[in-house]
């Protein structure tokens, strides 16, 4: 079997240098100097916060905690550890009084929809705070969740720029350890924290370690699904992941615009965002 774990190993010094330079240059070239991060208490947002502080300085980073009444106390506590360790500015806004009135008007709303509403409410707060603080919203989505679409569109996936989107979850953990993110945060089971005992891996039905190894072969090494099976992965697992990746492509692109003219945004009006800067 291909030794994928070693292929997922990264040089954390180099990643750190590139990602902090990325945040600094791509924020300052817009004329801004500050960033806002939503701190969930999990490892992704903790790492994004550590990177942002190294790139911009603690006074230029605002960490926002946005608990819901059912959020685990651990989440708030772990987010507090990140705030203490980095010295960032911080703010806590309880989203319960914002989302509950909506939930109470919709009796049929289920846990998944509630989770999406909460993720989008947090996006609203982060974007509003970015205006207040004169900052850009720094994304916290990693490559695993982007590939799997394990994210709320226009919710936690919304950001101005994303330093983590080309790192698989297991690589996020490597870099987090190297940067001194508290071990309790790195080691705990990842969770969207929508209800007690919820974990990503419980919901997805596989572990990040397994799916990262598979995604690495499929995406980075361009293995066919058959080659992944030959490399030692279970056929049903491979087929399921391939289908999840395909089904979630819509979360990775901008909404298609129906083409009518000779020049249409998304097809033949092509400029980088850094145009002119």
């Amino acid at each position: 079997m291909v030794n994928v774990p070693s292929l997922l190993e990264i040089n954390t010094d180099l990643a750190r240098k590139i990602l902090t330079s990325f945040l600094r240059e791509e924020i300052t070239r817009t004329g801004m100097a500050r960033g806002v991060v939503g701190l969930s208490g999990g490892v992704d947002s903790a790492l994004a916060c550590f990177l942002a502080v190294e790139a911009l300085g603690p006074a230029n980073v605002l960490a926002v905690r946005m608990p819901y009444k059912q959020s685990s106390p651990d989440s708030l506590r772990h987010a507090e550890q990140v705030i203490q360790a980095t010295g960032v500015k911080s703010l806590t806004i309880d989203i319960t009084p914002m989302v509950e009135p909506l939930f109470s008007q919709i009796p049929s709303i289920d846990a998944r929809r509630k989770g999406n509403v909460m993720a989008r409410e947090r996006m609203v707060i982060l974007y509003d705070q970015s205006a207040e603080f004169g900052a850009l919203v720094i994304g916290t989505g990693n490559k695993t969740e982007i590939m799997l679409g394990y994210t709320t569109l226009y919710g936690d996936s919304a950001c101005a720029l994303n330093p983590l989107g080309d790192l698989y979850k297991t690589q996020v953990r490597q870099l987090s350890r190297a940067m001194g993110v508290p071990e309790a945060i790195v080691a705990k089971a990842p969770t969207a924290d929508l209800w007690s005992g919820q974990t990503d891996e419980g919901e997805l039905g596989f572990t990040y370690e397994d799916v990262d190894r598979l995604l690495y072969l499929l995406v980075d090494e361009r293995y066919s699904p058959e080659e992944c099976v030959q490399a030692g992965f279970k056929k049903a697992f491979v087929e399921r992941v391939v289908e999840i990746v395909r089904r979630n492509q819509f979360k990775r692109v901008l909404p298609p615009i129906a083409k009518l003219s000779h020049r249409t945004v998304g097809y033949d009006f092509l400029y980088l965002r850094d145009w002119g800067t």
Partner: protein, 294 residues
């Protein structure tokens, strides 16, 4: 007779503003002044140094012509009265085709223009969509000797450096805007390691000097890794710029090293160009091995 054959050159690994030619020109003039002050006789900029790399639809709006009355080239040509300059830009020809070009300026004149002959249009690259292919690979004479100039993907193919070698180039100027990719456990990205290996390889194979400049900074999520480098005809690295940081790197080239290396290792003397030509003609005539006859 032994002359002083030391040549000091400067490698300007700069970041650029995407599509803002006046701002980039200003930075060029500042780096040229610094290079001149440091005693360099040649300063080499990266690919598309006057425009930035991922231009897409900006390509046609930032294009210029390397002529004396061009507002971009006028100040550069003036600066070239005291120091030779290799600079990257978008060239628009008289039929309004756009090229990724590099110009070598010396003593107020445009000595040579190279148009990129290999436009990567795969993976993250889309150059063939926006630019026309150059169709010449030629060395040119300077006061330091004969030089060959290539642009990034040009030297990812073995044939352009080989042609320049046969055309008399002893000093290769490779100018890149190379997006960094391939993060593994090494302290440099895969792409940086690849470029270093092949540059060293060309220096060894062609017993020549190889000079490589690369842009730094970011364009959206793309990082450019810099890491300017110079190899001598023995393949020894004689200068190396920092990765991911703007810098002006100075290198001392002992041009007599060509004499010493080629006395030891006469690869150029023994190169069988007629054999190459015969076999190439046969291969192209049979064409079953080579489907691309561009």
């Amino acid at each position: 007779m032994i002359q002083n054959m030391m040549l000091r050159i400067a490698l300007a690994q700069i970041s650029t503003k995407l599509g803002d030619v006046p701002a980039n020109l200003e930075k060029h003039l500042a780096y040229i002044r610094r290079a001149r002050k440091a005693g360099a006789r040649l300063v080499v900029f990266p690919e598309l140094s006057l425009t930035g790399y991922a231009l897409q639809d900006l390509a046609s709006t930032v294009a210029c012509r390397p002529v004396e009355d061009d507002p971009v080239f006028r100040p550069l040509l003036k600066a070239s009265l005291v120091i030779d300059i290799a600079v990257g830009f978008v060239e628009e020809d008289v039929r309004n085709r756009f090229y990724i070009s590099s110009a070598y300026l010396s003593r107020g004149e445009v000595v040579h223009v190279h148009r990129k002959v290999y436009l990567p249009t795969y993976g993250m690259f889309d150059e063939g969509r926006f630019f026309a292919l150059g169709d010449r690979v030629q060395a040119f004479d300077t006061s330091f000797g004969r030089i060959g100039m290539l642009i990034c993907e040009d030297f990812w193919h073995a044939s352009p450096p080989y042609l320049l070698w046969l055309d008399g180039a002893d000093l290769f100027l490779f100018m890149s805007s190379s997006p960094g990719r391939g993060l593994r456990t090494h302290p440099e990205l895969d792409s940086a390691r690849w470029v270093e290996r092949v540059n060293r390889g060309y220096a060894n194979l062609f017993t020549s000097f190889v000079v490589h400049t690369n842009k730094v900074g970011f364009e959206d999520g793309l990082n450019f890794w810099g890491g300017a480098m110079v190899f001598d005809p023995n393949g020894r690295q004689i200068a190396k710029g920092p990765n991911h940081e703007e810098a002006l790197i100075l290198a001392e080239l002992d041009l007599n090293q060509l004499h010493r290396t080629r006395a030891r290792l006469p690869l150029l003397r023994d190169e069988r160009t007629a054999l190459t030509q015969r076999e190439l003609q046969r291969i192209l005539a049979e064409s079953s091995h080579t489907t691309n006859l561009r």
